[in-house]
Amino acid sequence: MAFGKSILGDLKAIVGEANVLTSAADLAAYSYDGSSSWQSIPGAVVFPSKVEHIAATLELLNRHGTPVTVRGAGTCLSGGPISPPGGVVLCMTRMNRIVELDREDFTVKVEPGVVLHDLNRELAKHRLFFPPDPQSFLAATIGGCVAEGAGGPYAVKYGVFKHYLLGMTVVLASGAILELGGNTMKNVTGYDLPQLICGSEGTLAVIAQVTLRLLPLPEARCTVLAIFNDVRQAGKAVHRIRASGVVPAKIELMDNWMLRRIEELSPLGLPLDAAAILLFEMDGSAASVAPETQEVIRLCQEAGAIQARASEDAKDAERLWGARRAAFSAVFGSAPTVFAEDVTVPVSKIPDLIDRIAEIRKRYDVSIVLVGHAGDGNLHPSVLTDKSNAEHCGRAEKAVHEIFVAALALGGAISGEHGIGLEKRKFLKHAMQPQAIDLLRQIKSVFDPKGILNPGKIWE
């Protein structure tokens, strides 16, 4: 699918020589994302610096029928930003301006290459806050997060990216520039096109600017650590807390494997034989955080926690969350290949899912580490394997498949926040009716008749 020199010349004429990469090393550096199983070398990497660049690039490539894959920081975990071999990567990282911060209406307009962490650092100066927090926030770009429909631990209380999306500027495959949505909290003008683009994984249009809703920064925060000898007790604690009316900002679950890694990497004095840890973050006004923290501790104890305590101060809280991040990273360092899955079930079904995963672990004799957002039903079972060992990897793949089947049987979904991309497209037919998948194809063909935008993703 290599393309001619004339296209390359035209691309350089559009964005400038310095914004087109074609050397072997540069192309290799855009051949992967955060997932561990997918890689392919693009034909060129193009960096637009304004919406007109995107429009002219798409118009050109659409004319030639050349595939275009949009990329932000490439932290995706489902293969979304990986171009077909020889295609063009349209990399948005040089479009990284915060265009307009409206402190009256709590909205912000940003270019797609703005890094989530940079946005929140800027917002904090004005005591504002953008809650959705995919754990790649240090590097992930806003455009990528919107395209993938990303979320994170804050989903329990604050929801995910799609709940903050007011409007966007997009460019269609034809090169047409469109303004979708607006600036208001409520808006039912026609189909909700921004919501359609959100989570479309770069297959419908290229996002050139987004308008997001913001919140004031919470005044106080407190973390609660609770330890359980039985995962079902942890599940019970989560349920009771949700029923009590207290809404923690985050409820994170870790299994015994994670607990042991924490004790190796950043010891917190956890009992090594405990079955599960829950980590809660409470936030809000100082007056509400203190009693809610006590209530969460009480309910955990009531559900059977062997230990439950509040963080002493901000530093202690950071230590707890830091330990969680470090242990989660250790998952990826613990095997050559890690299938980091992303299944979601109704919150009350989490203990059932955990039981099923324990059976699957035994049946296929593979290690499966469990971390998850217990408050929103989203679990990340990580299956540890090695691509170079076909026999083991085969078992691991079967285990992954069984996890999907289990999640679906419990009324869940195969991806909560990572997207389908390449990683899960062969499972789509198990999670959606054939007619619904046809509808996806038809919608795609309306937006992108020649199929140049991120081809080969989502469905087979």
Binding site: S23, A24, A28, A29, Y32, A73, H117, S136, G333
Partner: protein, 432 residues
Amino acid sequence: MAVGMPGVLDSESADRCMKCGFCMSMCPVYGVDHNESHVARGRNMLIRMARDGGLATDASYRDSLSACLLCGRCEAVCPAGVPSPAIAVGARSKMVRERGLGSSQRLLYRGMVKHRSAFAKLVRGLSWLPGLSNRKGAPVRHFPDVVAAFFGGMSLPRLSAPFLSRRLPQRIPPREGEIVGQVAVFTGCIFEFFLADAGSDMLLFLAELGYEVSYPHDQTCCGLPVLSGGDLDTAQAIAKRNIEIFSRYEHVVTGCASCGGHLKRYESLFGSDDPWKEKAAAFARKVEDFSEFLVKRGHLAPRRREENRRDSESAEKAGGKPRVTYHEACHIKWKQHVDEAQRKILLGIDDIDFVEMEGADSCCGLGGYFGIAHPDLRLAMLAKKVDAIRRSGADIVATSCPGCLLQIMDGLRRENLPVRAMHLAQLVRGGY
């Protein structure tokens, strides 16, 4: 594992990179050009691909290898603790073994730096040329292009005349009173050849505090520039020599952030079966940065309260005191983790007005071999740093790395900014 390849520099550790991208949030080079082949995540992947035969080691690959400052931020933020700077150096070293060194690098690394006395003779000879040194003659501001070629077009200050080792003896007794302790000083090449005034202030200040200061004249370059260029063999030879020379001292102090960061990691130059590894580790434990040494021994307790520190935006010139801002060297903060000591010292100096500049810890862009291979990136980063200095309204910018000082002086000259750049040792000795 290739012959002479120490474990820690091996590409195997690149396999631990799980491509989370956290390094992209910290990398000063990626922050300028957003090219993923210029950040640890991309470079680790390229190194793995090249090792496994999936990528040619062509000019673009070498461009990626050279585009690392070795500042250490990526390693500090990496959840998996991947030693990306060492991996980059290991890959450069592999290139050097396969392709050989360029002639100018060979001359510099093998001929001069390893035998610093020979280098000194040559430079001393050059210093008699009109305009090259501050010995006498017309004040030529920029080092001639032929020498600057070594340094990627960087304008260097004139050579010190005489060099530091010609100014002070190998043993400097305490200035007065009882001996409070003994300390040996590792000066580094920049103090020796370019900033002898600052180097001299550091040595004399220690003597004034009551230390008997040992200053072995046969010490050589720390070896970082050589290692940074990928010449591991020479870097090891240099390390062995310094380890031997300082073996008879208990405390080794350096005023160079880069030298210090490297001396403290000498151990990583040697494989686990090499008897030098343990010697290097023992040596590293004796090394302290100048500021670290002072603060640990309580020589400069802060007399100003922390709250008195003012940020640059709200600051106004305080009655007649020179306003001083501080550039935090990467190798102090990210490699040695002793950045608190520097500020304690600055806050302890009563008759200066200390203001923080925005992004005090953002890199000045020097980065040794990086700056030579990528002058455009070096200058882009330097411009940001100089702008922050300008906006701080400072009269003086202080730092604790002579390398940063050269780079910042270059930037101040380019922008014609009337700000003096000084080493911390010059400040504590009252040279403002």
